[in-house]
């Protein structure tokens, strides 16, 4: 493309149908404890 550079390949929608297994870390257990930082967690499926 000449005008647009897409920098990621993921599509959140594809993760919705098979998501929610709950294996991942609860977000507040990592470092924050005073804020909610979900998007930096890893999928552990």
């Amino acid at each position: 493309m000449k005008h647009i550079l897409t920098i990621n390949k993921a599509n959140l929608k594809k993760t919705a149908a098979k998501g929610g297994c709950g294996k991942c870390q609860a977000s507040c257990q990592s470092a924050c404890k005073t804020s909610c930082t979900v998007a930096n967690q890893k999928c552990e499926k």
């Binding site: 493309m1 000449k2 005008h3 647009i4 550079l5 897409t6 920098i7 990621n8 390949k9 993921a10 599509n11 959140l12 929608k13 993760t15 919705a16 098979k18 998501g19 929610g20 297994c21 709950g22 294996k23 991942c24 870390q25 609860a26 977000s27 507040c28 257990q29 990592s30 470092a31 924050c32 404890k33 005073t34 804020s35 909610c36 930082t37 979900v38 998007a39 930096n40 967690q41 890893k42 999928c43 552990e44 499926k45």
Partner: protein, 461 residues
């Protein structure tokens, strides 16, 4: 819904519902103000006419086609069809626990949300082994099919009750095979009581360790004080270095708080990096606006500018091969959490609870001391399932402000405790935190975009 912004010379477009991130030229940036689905095959004449004052019509048309192509690929102007998944946000097993093994502290940090250890309850307490054991049994029994159980030793200062920490780790390990589960222990410490024995135990048993320090000595010591009023920096820094080194600088954070006193907090992040740490978190203080150190809306321009500065520092360091993680800028655009996790948020009160030395159950450590949010007690076996369900339903589609926010899949509805304490209800948004979160997200995406562009340019050479 899209969110577009300019930062660091880049034009960035986030497609909110697919998570697609695009770097665009000026023409695309402008055209996106003028078009939206449903799309015709050709660019509408009035758009061409409007933009042809600045761009060539053939460029406008070719740009329009690219926009339509991305729309057809589902990564631009993608629809919000997640609400149906929100129904999964109920009745999740409890899988994570914050154990307040010590409701006392050997520091008197000015901004402590736990009121320097006692959570405003006026009594300083230790958790005994029996209560800790009950807490772990509660987690084992209520975790359903979850195999990974998280238990954070928290306080106050957990090292003040070290024998119980060790006993509980041993107890937890002894139950893993029986229940077919694995404990991930973590600990958050102020470092004052660290010694070789504790370090070795932590490094053997804890999957993550959070070491509290605010950055530069002058910044740290102004607010992180011992009981006698002197700062703690000199006592803890060498211990932290030793602890991190002993665990090969893996799975740890040095974690600080910035306040109105250090709006130049990027300097503190750099300081921690220069002291040898590469996993760094420095987070905004959460406090009543009347406190001298509290951040308020008037501080936002300075905070935004500092986050931008920090983002640039990270990029510059990266170019020199000096890598470090800043926790609040960490973002995985390709393999981050699934959309369901992002709907649910942190899971407090539903998947995650906090336990006090008296065996009281709260939705998380920050709710401790708020009677109306006491969920139950381990000694009488009570556990308020109605409240658990209320927390399960506190997701981005029940939070009105979040529903329409472009950042909703990254902060996932924000911190329920902050929402309650500073905005009156877990479903309300705590605006100050939202504004900072959005800025951090813009910076984090910009860092990813800048690196992606650099890669493309390198490959083109």
């Amino acid at each position: 819904m899209i969110h577009k912004y300019k930062l660091n010379g880049l034009n960035i477009v986030l497609d909110v519902h697919s998570g697609g991130v695009h770097l665009v030229d000026e023409l695309t940036y402008d055209i996106l103000d003028n078009v939206e689905p449903p799309f015709a095959d050709e660019c509408p004449e009035k758009v061409v006419e409007k933009l042809s004052r600045f761009y060539a019509p053939e460029d406008i048309n070719s740009c329009y086609k690219e926009v339509v192509e991305l729309y057809n690929d589902g990564i631009l102007f993608s629809e919000d069809d997640y609400e149906r998944f929100a129904k999964y946000s109920v009745a999740a097993p409890v899988k994570a626990m914050c154990l307040l093994v010590e409701q006392d502290c050997n520091l008197r940090c000015e901004y402590c949300f736990a009121s320097t250890g006692d959570y405003g309850l006026g009594k300083r307490m230790h958790m005994d082994f029996e209560t800790g054991k009950k807490a772990m049994d509660f987690l084992l029994e209520n975790s359903g099919d979850r195999e990974n159980l998280e238990l954070d030793f928290f306080g106050g200062e957990p090292l003040m009750n070290w024998d119980v920490v060790k006993q509980l780790v041993e107890y937890g390990r002894s139950k893993e095979a029986e229940y077919g589960k694995r404990f991930r222990f973590t600990i958050t410490t102020n470092g004052m009581l660290l010694d070789e024995e504790k370090m070795d135990f932590i490094n053997k048993e804890m999957s993550n360790v959070v070491m509290s320090v605010d950055g530069r000595k002058c910044v740290n010591d102004r607010v992180r004080k011992r009981v006698d009023g002197t700062g703690c920096y000199d006592r803890i820094m060498d211990k932290y270095k030793q602890l991190a080194e002993k665990r090969n600088y893996e799975n740890y954070y040095v974690r600080g708080t910035f306040t109105k006193y250090n709006l130049d907090f990027a300097e503190d992040v750099v300081h921690l990096y220069n002291e040898g740490f590469d996993q760094i978190s420095v987070e905004p203080v959460v406090a009543e606006p009347t406190m001298g150190y509290a951040l308020t809306e008037r501080d936002l321009p300075a905070i935004f500018s500092e986050y931008e500065k920090l983002a640039n520092i990270i990029l510059e360091h990266d170019k020199q091969g000096k890598h470090f993680n800043f926790f609040h800028f960490m973002l995985d655009l390709d393999q981050g959490p699934c959309a369901i996790k992002r709907l649910r948020g942190c899971g407090s009160g539903n998947e995650y609870v906090a336990i006090t030395p008296e065996g009281d159950i709260y939705p998380c450590h920050q709710f401790v001391g708020y009677d109306e949010y006491k969920m139950g007690n381990l000694n009488d076996g009570s556990f308020n399932m109605e409240m658990k369900n209320d927390f399960a339903k506190a997701h981005i589609y029940t939070k009105e402000e979040c529903k329409k926010c472009w950042a909703k899949f990254y902060c996932s509805g924000g911190c329920n405790a902050n929402n309650f304490i500073y905005a009156g209800n877990i479903l309300n948004s705590y605006k100050l935190a939202c504004e900072m979160q959005k800025k951090r997200l813009e910076c984090a995406i910009m860092i990813k975009a800048a690196k992606a562009l650099e890669e493309v340019e390198k490959n083109a050479e």
